[in-house]
């Protein structure tokens, strides 16, 4: 299996605060890797470095063999990196379908001129996109019923699903999901876990996820990386990590 994401000695500091310290990990293509740790451990900072919002103080990140730290944030999606956010980052003033379509933004070619004319070419691209999203994403995530609803006022669990749909619309190679199970009840969690599994199996995506729900994580992941105070304190398969004394200490120690 190929190494899709290689993180080496990643460090990140803001002023006096060290968010990440010498974090290294390898994510195999087609696997599900979870990043866990107590609050403030640096998990979302880790995601933010990969996304391109923070420039690390040192270390490298290679995606599919290429150094992506050299790329600006908006260029990384073109490599096939998609991401969802901890506090749902959907766009008000648009419907579910329109939000999802934004996932495919980088793959489209319509510009201001062709858009304002909306004849032939641009119209075809738009209609093809609608069809593709309907066939692939909306049915996959069971969003048909709310396809044309405004996202404002949608229940939290559904919004999280729409955000996942948007990420999948990109046909990503790496799917970074930030707290997919937060605020959900058991049946919603089970459904989300299924969607994530199927994203890997049927879409060929590699998943990197952050969450606090130990049960879901252990049942879902191939590999678990544990952060605490910005350092990586354990890594391995879920069973090994669960029994690791350093991990137990980190979680119990902070309670």
């Amino acid at each position: 299996m190929a190494q899709l994401l290689e993180v080496e000695s990643l460090s990140l500091s803001f002023g006096g605060i060290t968010a990440l310290s010498d974090v290294s990990t390898i994510v195999q293509e087609g696997s599900i890797t979870a990043v866990i740790g107590p609050n403030g451990a640096g998990k979302t900072s880790f995601f933010n470095v990969i996304s391109g919002f923070y420039r690390p103080t040192s270390g490298t990140v290679r995606f599919d063999g290429c150094d992506i730290l050299a790329l600006p944030a908006n260029a990384r999606s073109q490599r096939g990196i998609a991401r969802t956010f901890q506090n749902i980052a959907l766009f008000n003033g648009m419907t579910v379908l329109e939000n999802i379509k934004l996932g495919a933004h980088a793959q489209l070619r319509t510009n201001v001129f062709s858009a304002s004319l909306y004849l032939g070419w641009a119209r075809r691209e738009e209609e093809d996109l609608t069809r593709r999203i309907d066939d692939e994403v909306i049915s996959f995530l069971d969003l048909t019923a709310i396809r044309d609803r405004s996202i404002e006022g949608l229940p939290y669990g559904l919004q999280k699903r729409v955000e996942l749909a948007r990420a999948l619309a990109m046909r990503p190679r790496l799917l970074m999901v930030d707290e997919p199970f937060a605020g959900m009840n058991n049946s919603e969690k089970a459904a989300m876990a299924q969607y994530i599994r199927r994203s890997v199996r049927e879409w060929g995506a590699t998943v990197l996820l952050i969450d606090h729900d130990m049960e879901m994580i252990m049942g879902l992941s191939d590999q678990v990386v544990v952060l605490n105070f910005g350092r990586m304190i354990a890594t391995g398969n879920p069973d090994a990590v669960r029994k690791d004394p350093a991990v137990i200490d980190a979680y119990l120690g902070t309670e």
Partner: protein, 290 residues
């Protein structure tokens, strides 16, 4: 050389007038991220209130200053409470547009009540020129900047040493944390507007005393804006330095290049700051949590 020194001191003195208004702008912006586009008009209204009391009603300049300050605070609080607080939580652009609308209303009201022609305040600042060594400074300007210095000093003391000032600084630094420490954010917003009311009243009156009052007095807000931008939008202390500096630049440009160029200075400063050093001289780079 002597001439340069003279102009320089005059420049610094006139720059000091911007400082008070700039302080008012910064504390509102720092605590609530609201860009107060009505700042200039607030100065203008305060100046007119002073004029109305002192000249139109013949009650003397002390009463005029009192009415202007109290009136300015009341207006500021009224605007903040009735128009801005109900909109808290909406995107900042909405609140900023409201201040824009308020500024327009104030301009129109002033034009309606007092007309477009320039009016003058009586000389409550002594006219007699002040000499520093053998450098001559127009009396009103000298005394005006002295008053500004006193008020600015009082404000700084309040801001840095009082509990309320601490609360404002906490809110400006991190709203969420401040709130969790028990600080009533809404009260802080109202407080910053009330303080601004005092500050703009002082600077409006002094500016009016120096240059006369018209409904377009608020245009000076652009100079204040240049000061704030040069300072960095978020530095309270930096505003003092920036204000004096811009006052100096304007006076020198006006003296040696003419009045037309002097008017251009604020825009040039704004453009330069944005292209060269957007965070200004003393501004802080804020890192948003995503």
């Amino acid at each position: 050389m002597h001439q340069i020194l003279e102009f320089s001191i005059i420049g610094l003195a006139s720059g000091s007038v911007y400082v008070l208004a700039a302080l008012g702008f910064v504390i509102i912006f720092k605590s609530s991220s609201v860009f107060n586009f009505a700042l200039g008009e607030m100065m203008m209204i305060a100046a007119y209130l002073c004029f109305a009391t002192t000249v139109q009603m013949q009650l003397g300049w002390q009463a005029g200053v009192l009415v202007a300050v109290v009136g300015s605070v009341l207006i500021a609080l009224a605007v903040e409470r009735t128009m801005l607080q109900p909109l808290l939580g909406k995107p900042v652009i909405v609140l900023v547009m409201v201040t824009l609308g308020v500024g327009s209303i104030m301009r129109g009201l002033a034009g309606l009540v007092w007309g477009p022609d320039i009016v003058q305040l009586p000389d409550f600042l002594p006219r007699a020129p002040v000499f520093i060594g053998d450098v001559l400074i127009p009396g009103r300007l000298a005394w005006g900047s002295l008053v500004v210095g006193l008020i600015a000093g009082a404000f700084m003391a309040y801001y840095h040493f009082s509990r309320a000032g601490l609360a404002i600084r906490a809110t400006s630094s991190d709203q969420v944390t401040a709130e969790s420490m028990g600080i009533n954010i809404r009260q802080i917003f109202s407080l910053t507007w009330a303080i601004t009311g005092v500050l703009v009243a002082a600077s409006g009156i002094i500016l009016g005393a120096l240059n006369g009052i018209t409904p377009t007095l608020g245009l000076v807000a652009l100079n204040v804006l240049a000061v704030v931008m040069l300072s960095g939008l978020t530095s309270v202390g930096g505003v003092v330095v920036a204000g004096l500096f811009i006052g100096w630049v304007e006076t020198m440009v006006g003296a040696y290049l003419g009045a037309a160029w002097q008017n251009f200075v604020p825009y040039l400063v704004v453009l330069l700051v944005m292209t060269v050093k957007p965070t200004g001289l003393f501004g802080e780079r804020r890192i948003e949590r995503i």
